[in-house]
Amino acid sequence: MAETKEIAVNSSGRKALAPRSSRRSRRSGPRRSQTVGALWAAPALIMVAIFFVLPVIYMVYMSFQNWPLLGEHTFVGLRNYTDALQDPRFLEPVKFTLVYTLLIVPALLVAGLGMASLVKAKRRGSGLFRTLFFLPVVVGFAAAGYLWLWFVNPRVGPLPQILRDLGFGTLQDPWLGTTSGALLVVCLMVLWKFSGFTMLLFMTGMQTIPDDIVEAARVDGAGRWRMLRSITLPLLRRTIALVVILTTAGSLLAFDQFFVMTRGGPNNHTITVVYAIYRQSFSSFRLGYGAALSVMLALVLLVISAIQLRLLRSDDDD
């Protein structure tokens, strides 16, 4: 399973960083003082306690309460949860978020894989292309959203203008005016902004494919398609899993792009789960209900992350 070491090795390119060696250095190293270590870690741990542990505990507590912004909160048991499971203002966003995830995850996967195969080899120009493909990743989601809002505007946007110039004059309706149009535009924006990231993950995965296997297959007369199907994809399965999990977790948390580009419209059809939580907590001020939705979201993310950790850990084992 040597091909699966990408995470451990790439963390610095040096084996010395693998967890095993760090454990050894702690045990056989110079005498260590318990108190001194705790003191070094204390400032960070205090921050984590105040701004993470406390809110998580509070979240669970709030989720069992009717909690308006002002005034007293009252215990309501599981009602927030049972309400949520019948509330279209939550269930519709859940459905929409899943549709969005099902669209964007394969798109990012294929784009990243394709771009990585193009620029993985050292050849004149490949370094420059990598840098250019990756450039949108460093742009913030809000800025990218506003850029695309303008980019696809039927009146002033360059993209509809280019299509008009090419003779597709009928595409003049506002693309963000329909649910599917809005979803498509947001997906395009995210694809533009994020495929450089999946490209990078795939590039590192591909670097771990042993040259001799590729060479042997070529000698055996494997064609390009056969090569992809029988060598590249099987050896990249862990990278693929990593990309799928990371992009899935990311798209389940989508908010910025929809808030900026569609404002949830048209007719509230592009509300994501995080957007729904935002509305319940900070527009309707049903904070207890918002907390209950948050607990459910957190549980889903925990499951996904547990899968992720398991995959990463089996990477380290070999």
Binding site: L17, V56, L118, T131, R155, Q161, D211, A298, L301
Partner: protein
Amino acid sequence: MTTSATEPLAGATTASSSPASPRNRLLPASAWWIICTCLAILFVSPLLISLLSSLKTPAAAQAENPTLLPDQFSTENYQALQGVGVGIGSYITNSVLVALGTVIGTVILATTAGYGFEKYGFFGRRTAFMVIIAMLMIPFQAVVTPLYIVLNKLGLHNSLTGLTLVYITYQLPFALFVMRNAFAAVPLALEEAALMDGASSVRMFRQVMLPLVRPGVITVALFAFFAAWNEFFAALILLNDQSKYTLPVALTLLQGSLLGQISWGTLQAGVMVSMIPCVIIYAVLQRYYVAGMLSGGIK
């Protein structure tokens, strides 16, 4: 910090260094150049066209059937940003303060904690680390409602300090991960030699460790900067006063105040102001950025 993973992205250094071996040539060279160039245009052109549009006169930027190049270059759109909310200057200042605060705070906390975690055993160390792993699983978006209440009770809501503290905290898991790796790579012999000389824990940290973990510190600082500079959701919720907005949230004013009649030129100018620092920093320090991204394997 030149690693197999980061080097390829530092375009200029490797682009011409070694010729491609034949087996890497799945495509004829000309086809490869054409495909890559088209893709590069797809990725870069929105940024470039937006930059050009921000330099048009406001009227030209507002015109239907837009042209690619400005007829005449103008900084009027950028000047118009002064009239947005309390003025773009304040928003830049807010963003710079929050980003710098986040960078400094994250670097200090992650290096000290990374040192403590990696080089010392202490009571509760495992539990503490589990909690920090859990932070990777439950990101900010999932705990925003209770966090809002907690900040309220601490008197830190609607404050740039509060926002900065939140950014630092949620940057810590990744930063700590990077710094632990960096400290783990410090050779044991160096530590032992320093101990023989009777170095204290603090002297060891400052004189032996810090110089050696510099690349990790740069990675952590870069990520903290990008995270704080670009972050939208937390800033949107935790800041109420217009005068306290950071740049990404201030962009909503450009859309909101002029609803139906968005000033597109001004909007593009605003997008550029928030974007250009990231592009420049990325161009200069990209190998650290990519190294960090890969070592995290996340985000």
